[in-house]
């Protein structure tokens, strides 16, 4: 196995007594990275539980073998990956442990897995068919947040400015837009704090060291608007995501209220898109909140078009100054701007959604080839490859079908039941549009009450059809604020596909 230079690989015999070796390594790495003692203990505990699960449940009794642990220090935190070639792992078979139910505590079934999920920030399970399986743990490194750095005076001043709506007169401020320098990370975090308090959805922005290091490593490309007094007026960034490094997300876009109205956002967007075109990115996408249409309106001015609406995708954030009373779950609209579209895109959309998918691509100015027949050479394997991401902050689960196998319906149904039982609010199902089997299976997934969400953009024919499942959540479509006309049409289409709408319609027809 080839391991990149910044990772550590440990191959461990499948014996419980060796778990402490892994813990020692994780402890030392976490110490070097700057984790505090209490967080290191949580990491050690998650590692023990994950390794114990593998040793006790992955292999036949008496089987002597090894499994791999890969430790990767990352700017934002530590990634610990467990890889083994034992029995396939089925997360749905782990009993659901609820610490509020006394009988659960007394039986303690599923306690280890429950602890893992509580002690790290992200857990990903990946079944690789005959190549085994992976469990990946990620825990943020919370170095000093801006709230530990910013002075009481600065907080009071920002609050005062907000109350009095103190703004510099339009036309008064001269500014320029350029890439952020590493030593400006603190000023950017302060600007975010001044703009949003601590309510901004992407918490990395409050950790200057993360912003600085992510920029140095090219995982974040930050731009700032800066005035003659060297004050940071605003910030915008491209976030290079692991899911698709050639199709980054536009994010962390804000302008200090004091400087709003000067055209900072427009200038930053223009500069960023110019650079992205030069940088040969395939495209850029954005997640627009739907509590209000303002950010969609701004993004839309730069050629971004609506491609999907993810209903109930996260816990609602209180955007300071914008409808602070909101407490419901937030839905987002996915907006994409293809900068270097391929002319050789072939996609296999399900025929029942072909019209709306064509409209999405027309709206984007793209013309992929739509195919409605499965090529003869497409063979289904026995076992599917499915990657599952669990987001315990927003209570959502994302199921990615990497490769279809004959067991795909069984596997998706099982995962869905499990996530519903564990009360995840929304379950998303991502299906590769370039895979002819997506056309075949999509309607089967919809029989499980998944329904159309839209297209998730990707580079080089990696676009995905996204289906969504609302777990006992009734979407209030009137409160999903969409700015563009096409986005409104997309919302109506999604609404018409929602099983809840279909049920209501049936009831009406039956006169109930």
């Amino acid at each position: 196995m080839e391991i990149p230079k910044n990772k550590i690989l440990l191959t461990l015999p499948n014996k419980l007594k060796y778990i402490t070796l892994t813990q020692s390594l994780v402890r030392e790495m976490a110490t070097i990275m700057g984790y505090v003692k209490s967080e290191i203990l949580k990491l050690e505990l998650a590692v023990e539980e994950a390794a114990k699960n593998i040793i006790e449940h992955s292999f036949a009794p008496g089987e002597e073998t090894t499994f791999d642990i890969i430790i990767e220090p990352h700017i934002a935190g530590i990634i610990i990956q467990f890889k083994d070639k034992g029995f396939p792992f089925d997360p749905t078979e782990i009993p659901d442990y609820n610490p509020k139910i006394k009988s659960n505590i007394l039986e303690a079934k599923g306690l280890g897995t429950f602890l893992i999920k509580q002690l790290v920030d992200e857990v990903t399970y990946l079944n690789l068919g005959k190549n085994g399986k992976e469990i990946v743990l990620f825990k943020y490194l919370n170095k000093k947040s801006i709230k530990d750095i910013i002075s009481k005076f600065e907080i009071e001043k920002a609050e005062e400015d907000k109350k009095t709506q103190a703004r510099t007169p339009v036309g008064f401020e001269k500014f320029k837009v350029r890439r952020m320098t590493p030593d400006e990370a603190i000023a950017v975090s302060k600007c975010a704090y001044t703009t949003y308090g601590l309510t901004y959805v992407h918490e990395d922005i409050y950790f200057p060291e993360r912003i600085r290091e992510m920029n140095i490593k090219g995982e974040l490309i930050s731009y700032v608007a800066i005035n003659d007094n060297n004050e940071i007026m605003g910030h915008i960034a491209l976030e290079i995501e692991v899911r698709d490094t050639d199709f980054p997300q536009l994010g962390m876009a804000f302008v200090n209220p004091k400087f709003q109205g000067h055209g900072c956002m427009k200038s930053m967007n223009t500069k960023m898109i110019e650079d992205a075109v030069m940088g040969n990115f395939y495209g850029i996408y954005a997640r627009g909140v739907t509590t209000h249409p303002f950010s969609q309106k701004v993004i839309g001015k730069f050629g971004f078009q609506d491609t999907a609406i993810f209903l109930s995708s996260g816990v609602s954030r209180e955007y300071k100054g914008i409808r602070e009373d909101e407490t419901r779950r937030e839905s987002v609209v996915i907006m994409a701007n293809y900068l270097h579209p391929s002319n050789e895109m072939i996609i296999y959309p399900p025929k029942e959604h072909i019209n709306i998918i064509k409209k999405v691509y027309n709206n984007l100015g793209l013309n992929p080839k739509f195919s409605d027949s499965i090529p003869k050479e497409v063979m289904e394997k026995n076992q599917s490859i499915i990657k599952v991401n669990i987001d315990n902050v927003n209570h959502i689960a994302i199921i990615n079908v990497i490769e279809y196998g004959k067991d795909v319906l069984y596997e998706i149904k099982k995962s869905l039941n499990d996530f519903c039982h564990k009360r995840y609010e929304t379950i998303y199902l991502n299906l590769k549009l370039r895979d002819p089997l997506t056309a075949k299976y999509s309607s089967e997934f919809e029989k499980m009450n998944f329904f159309f969400s839209g297209i998730m953009p990707g580079s080089d024919n990696n676009d995905e059809l996204v289906l969504q499942y609302l777990n006992n959540y009734i979407a209030d479509y009137d409160k999903v604020m969409i700015d563009s006309d096409f986005g409104k049409e997309l919302k109506e289409y999604i609404k018409s596909q929602d099983p809840q709408t279909k049920n209501n319609l049936k009831k009406k027809e039956n006169g109930n």
Binding site: I105, F114, L115
Partner: protein
């Protein structure tokens, strides 16, 4: 892990030093089993020097609690470090164990 045993007023006080995990939980299990079988069922576990516990360790405490409750004995924990207390809280174990700040308080209650 090191376990110190002491009899105070007919109560068994166990002091755990170090880590209680998958590799060593059986030592503690054996000690509990030995004393419960001799009907020594008023037990205090002093955790002030225990700096790590995993689900294996939590389960051992749980097993001991069930056996002692069934035998109408008393099973108390005391002196949990903050991080250990947090693990107990996350797991819901604070709702089923009697946990005291220190050994003195636990001894007052058990007698």
């Amino acid at each position: 892990m090191e376990i110190k045993k002491e009899k105070i007023n007919e109560n068994l006080v166990l002091e755990i030093n170090g880590r209680l995990d998958t590799t060593n939980y059986s030592e503690l299990d054996e000690i509990f089993a030995e004393h419960i079988s001799k009907n020594e069922i008023n037990i205090i576990v002093d955790c002030k020097n225990m700096d790590y516990i995993s689900s294996s360790g939590l389960r051992i405490f749980l097993t001991a609690l069930k056996k002692i409750n069934a035998a109408k004995g008393k099973f108390f924990l005391c002196g949990l470090q903050d991080t250990i207390q947090e693990i107990f809280k996350i797991s819901g174990f604070t709702s089923i164990f009697k946990i005291f700040d220190n050994q003195e308080d636990a001894l007052k209650e058990i007698s």
